[in-house]
């Protein structure tokens, strides 16, 4: 009976689920930013698409191929936007693991990670919409473009311009809180005296 009990306990120990903290630590160590070839791949392939798309668009007389090259221009800009997001975004698992390991700094670290995520999304949207608006207006007004396509490009350029305005001025709550600039009254201790004044804080 003891032997059976010992075997059962041993088998439960072998198959037992690892602790949540251990699991999180493993994920934190594994889940670094992943790339297929290298960290610049999205920016390089996006930039190439942007260049090839523009050379092709202004080099062809065919309206079908113009639309196809316009698609490549758009893909290039979207990939550059993805590259910007990948550059700025935090690695969630690592940050959450560090927050749990150091409970004193946890609130600040959690706010920071959400703020970084929001900032990465906003900057990606801002840059890609700016480039898309410029690209579509250039397609509409430079080069030999059909009138029907000109209207489509002007409309798409306008839509992206509105998105640029939104992404420039609107910050979500975590980003607004963490990256906000603020002035506070402060008292500084000098050598022999105290000096009262205002301090300006800016987070990057």
């Amino acid at each position: 009976m003891r032997l059976i009990l010992a075997v059962l306990i041993f088998s439960f120990m072998v198959n037992a689920k690892e602790s949540p903290m251990k699991f999180l630590r493993e994920q934190a160590l594994q889940n670094q930013k992943k790339f297929k070839y290298n960290r610049y791949e999205s920016i390089i392939s996006g930039g190439l698409a942007f260049i090839v798309g523009n050379i092709g668009y202004y080099g062809t007389d065919s309206s079908t191929l113009k639309v196809a090259y316009s698609g490549i221009q758009t893909i290039g800009i979207l990939n550059v936007g993805q590259g910007i997001y990948d550059y700025y975004r935090p690695v969630f698992d690592t940050e959450l693991y560090l927050a749990l390991r150091e409970p004193k700094t946890a609130p600040k670290r959690i706010i920071k990670v959400f703020a970084q995520e929001e900032k990465a999304k906003r900057l990606s949207l801002l840059y890609k919409s700016s480039l898309l608006a410029t690209q579509y207006f250039a397609n509409a007004f430079l080069g030999d473009t059909d009138d029907s396509l000109k209207d489509v490009y002007t409309f798409l350029g306008g839509v992206n311009l509105i998105v640029v305005g939104y992404a420039t001025f609107y910050k979500d709550k975590y980003e607004e809180y963490y990256y906000s600039n603020y002035l506070t009254p402060s008292v500084f201790r000098m050598k022999d005296s105290f000096v009262a004044g205002l301090s300006y804080t800016k987070s990057f």
């Binding site: 297929k36 070839y37 290298n38 791949e41 999205s42 390089i44 392939s45 996006g46 190439l48 698409a49 090839v52 798309g53 092709g56 065919s62 079908t64 191929l65 196809a68 090259y69 698609g71 490549i72 758009t74 893909i75 290039g76 979207l78 990939n79 993805q82």
Partner: protein, 360 residues
Amino acid sequence: MNKTLVLFLLWGFSQIALCHPLTTIIKPRYGINQVGTQDTCGIFFGRRNSVLCNPANLSLNSEEGLVFSLISKTDGDSVEAGQDVLFSPIDKEFLEDLFELNSFNSWEAGSMLEFQTPFFYLSYEPVYAQAAFFIFNPASPEISLTTSKQRKINLTVAEQIKLGSHEYHFGLNTFYYERDYFSGSFSLFELSSSSVDELVDLKASSAINADLGVIYQNKSIRWLPSLSLQYKNFGAKHEVNSERLKDEKALEPILLYETFFKAEFGYDFKMYYGSLAAAVGIYTDKDIATYYSDFTTLSLGYSLWNFEVLGSYSLYTHTAGIKFSSSANSVGIVYGRTKALGDFLDDYEDFAIVNLEIYL
């Protein structure tokens, strides 16, 4: 080993096909990778479309999702005339008009809805269409016309076996198709004496066929090339009309609907700056008795994240293309030159093919 090599070379040099076929650039179940490499992309591993190059690639590919794709030959008078053959009602006036066009005209296009999981791959082609015609002997005009429309549903499964450092991947693509097909010739004078239905008799057919694929790779011996073998359209009743292949005034599509064998070997190097692949593809008939040497193809592909460059060379067709993808869609463009009728046509036809994929 040496004996085998000598026998293979003797077979290769002695079995050169004496035919003058029509080559189609876009075939059923094609994406831009197939067009850009003339379907010599079986060992281009890790690309999204690799399962279309060889069904065995499914066991090497972990991608999943729903994709709608559209591929079409674009531009030129040749394309417009080809589209008219497929989409205009074929009557006497229309056929008479064809005799006034360029000597060779063709158009091809396909669309596909693909659902891929790591376990199976399901695709539906609502329409694949090709049309081509050639006008022989302007003094007494005779037209050779081939046209087909097809819809098809495919189910692909694959499995891999590892024996030490040897990796074998086996794939099976089973498909059901419904097709209207015509390949024939008639003269301008026959138009006055016969009805259009007699001259252009579209034959309807439907059946279940399969593509069988095997891939071999050995990652520990770097100099050993990877190998891709395919038996295409296994069980097909469609036969290439050998009389028309020998006829000097006939178009006959080849390597399209009939059963044939395809072998590829080459290398796919994964580097810090992307993935570079090169392959050689050879085709034979279903009995592996006739080697279609005219269609032996050399292909190259370079891939970096969502960017691909493709190129290929065969005796009558040369292609160069690019493909760019984002998380939502991809656009591919291939430029090429082809002698669609081989040595029968002195001039090369320039073409451009556009592929759009939307990731749903």
